[in-house]
Chain length 219, copies 2
DNA sequence: ATTCGTTATTTTGTCGACAATATGCTTTTT
DNA sequence: AAAAAGCATATTGTCGACAAAATAACGAAT
């Protein structure tokens, strides 16, 4: 899996990664308050590094902070999910368009082999694909866009929120095979350098995904 | 002008706004280093608040920071400008689409009166329109999307960078009247609740704008 | 009993100092 | 003379303490 490792240099980095993980995984409950003093004792670091970590989490929309009051983990709502997926549709659509223009032939080949290897897994272990494989696919296209803002906004920003929704709403849906076919079509469009089509297919792919989750949310 | 005032509560807020303004306006040169100690003496605050301000600037892509080394103001490059406008096209296109769906009739009416008032100014004082009027128009549509992520990413994030490019590349272009017509068409699409068309027109509008700036950049 | 005002406590915001890391300079070696 | 090693300096990262603000607790008045 081509999951790029972010490596922590400072103590703030470590605190940030740890906190982010706990929030995304639901260890720290959605909507709960983040006490700076409590966290600093729990992580055995100063309040300064906790503060910096929280600031960074605010930048990725994982916590909300009010001046002189404190920070809370964002609460997951159906409206928030819709809005998140609208932005995803917009940004990842553009990413697919740019990927069709900017990905190297080698990168496209890698993407194809990835899909083929997943093709086997889809028939057997469906769960694996849905979680990691889907992410890997989307990550590669985002990277393939070669657009620094796009990459940063999605990878460092929104995707953790997306994962948070997925984890905490327990997404292990029946959309595995259909999503796989959509992936294949997108890669084909990219292979043909048809940026227009690639964007369109990616947008639809994310729309379907949104509708799928929305349905789950109401059940 | 419906420019929403962000009000500074803490000292970090004030430092953040001040620093951001100086960077966008080019008072602090693009590419230069931001010394925490120097800034803390210049602003007469502690290093902690300067650090927090710099962290926030990093989140809006106005500075780049390396661990244990420091922060530098981003340098403006043609490639960066292109990438920025690609993201703008994507996000503001979606904003226009959502605005067509979600803006109230009153808000649309306001937008129309804004355009009509600008219609006068275009014939006389062209400069005013280009700077403030154009921003006002785009801000209203972004707000009209009613999508919190979209609004935050554009207004708190990318738009300061957009303004930085505009200010420092000296944009007072001859695109005034044509842009005005494009604005009119977008508003009309929104009035008709034609979200598809609104998105398409907005994307083209931003593409034209990009090409205009790109041409200026090479001259 | 409930509401309002006051006080006490907790939490965040800010500060200055120390530790750790990187940068620049001098010295030494080949 | 050039490159490398070591030292000095400056800058960032981290810490604990104090100041300011908000929340909670308490008591008084209606």
């Amino acid at each position: 899996m081509a999951m790029f490792e972010e490596q922590a240099i400072t103590a703030s980095d470590k605190a940030f990664f740890k906190l982010r993980k706990e929030i995304v995984d639901g260890v720290i409950l959605s909507g709960s308050k983040l006490s700076e003093t409590e966290l600093s004792t729990r992580y055995a670091v100063s309040r300064a590094v906790v503060r910096e970590a929280i600031n960074r989490l605010e930048a990725c929309h994982l916590v909300e902070r009010k001046a002189n009051v404190g920070a809370r983990v964002v609460s997951l709502t159906p409206e928030g999910l819709i809005e998140l997926y609208q932005v995803r549709e917009s940004l990842e659509g553009m990413a697919a368009r740019l990927a069709a223009q900017n990905m190297s032939e080698d990168e496209i080949a890698d993407l194809n082999t990835l899909l083929n290897s997943q093709s086997e897994e889809v028939k057997t272990a469906e769960l694996y694909y849905q979680e990691a494989g889907d992410l890997d696919f989307h990550y590669r296209i985002i990277q393939g866009s070669k657009n620094a803002y796009l990459i940063s906004m999605l990878v460092n920003g929104l995707y953790h929120l997306v994962r948070m929704y997925r984890v905490q709403l327990g997404m292990a849906g029946p959309r595995v095979t259909s999503a796989f076919d959509e992936h294949k079509n997108i890669v084909q469009a990219i292979s043909l350098r048809d940026s227009e089509l690639a964007e369109m297919l990616m947008r639809r792919h994310i729309m379907y995904s949104k509708n799928n989750i929305k349905a789950k949310l109401q059940s």
